[in-house]
Symmetry: C2
Subunit: 165 residues, 2 copies
């Protein structure tokens, strides 16, 4: 996948400026947290996408398979939150994955409103290959960006999520 990286890079991408400490009246967009998060997410997501392209699977399907790899049944609602998709989007993505025989639906016997999702054997096998690709990306980042910075960034993101949720 290494050789795909250049396809993903754009020479026009904004390189960010140092952060101003105190609130300014009209900061450039590159100082907004919302913008920095969107930019970082876009970049990392593209890299992951490029790696997963080996298996022809979109990032969202990796998330679904990964979450289902615990072997337990996940309701559509729970799954939607876990994989960061809203309900109708998930329903339609699951439809495609069912067609590909990666996952299957089971009606929850305890609450017949619910549908429990499970990974098929085919899905589990694919998950293993996808995990290797995802881990290789993590390793690549840690290498380029530093173990310390990576760990610190993860820590800060977790607490931001806790604060914002």
């Amino acid at each position: 996948m290494q050789q795909m990286q250049h396809l993903i890079h754009s020479s026009r991408t904004i390189k960010s400026q140092p952060v101003a400490r105190s609130p300014r009246p009209n900061p450039p967009i590159t100082e907004h947290l919302a913008y920095l998060l969107a930019q970082a997410n876009r970049e990392i997501n593209r890299q992951l996408e490029a790696r997963l392209r080996d298996e022809g699977v979109p990032v969202e399907q990796w998330r679904i398979l990964k979450v289902l790899s615990d072997g337990k049944g996940h309701s559509m609602g729970d799954l939607a939150d876990e994989v960061l998709l809203n309900h109708p989007t998930l329903t339609k993505m699951i439809d495609r994955m069912v067609s590909d025989a990666l996952v299957y639906r089971v009606q929850d016997p305890d609450d017949r409103r619910k549908v429990l999702m499970y990974s098929s054997e085919r899905g589990k096998a694919l998950t293993q290959r996808l995990n290797a690709l995802a881990l290789s990306q993590e390793a690549h980042i840690a290498e380029n960006y530093g173990d310390k910075a990576t760990a610190e960034l993860k820590r800060l993101l977790e607490s931001l999520i806790d604060a914002a949720t």
Copy 2:
């Protein structure tokens, strides 16, 4: 807007676990940087979206207006990179904004392949109101999450972007 926040919150959202230091064979999805970034981005973006809803403007249009608020002409290609959209998506979003008289196109006299985008007076007036909304979000985050953590998170995101781009 404050009263909209609860609409945005989902009780099923994954609360993240502490980060493991050394690379594990099969980490949960919540330990992947790509996932944490996507989750944080989604959350912050939703909050910003809720605030901008006062003016009925999607986040991407705020970015466009903000970038164009320097008064200089930006080519479609440059603009696409600056506002984190790909070319055809930007073209169609600009079409809508031209219909709303927020921006206008000018053919670049120095290179007639290029189209230069400018903000209209109406666009500039809207930008000011949007900036106030965006800044109030930044303030809200800094309050809940801490000035120090916010600044540190921004710093780390910038260097991640530099490393990844």
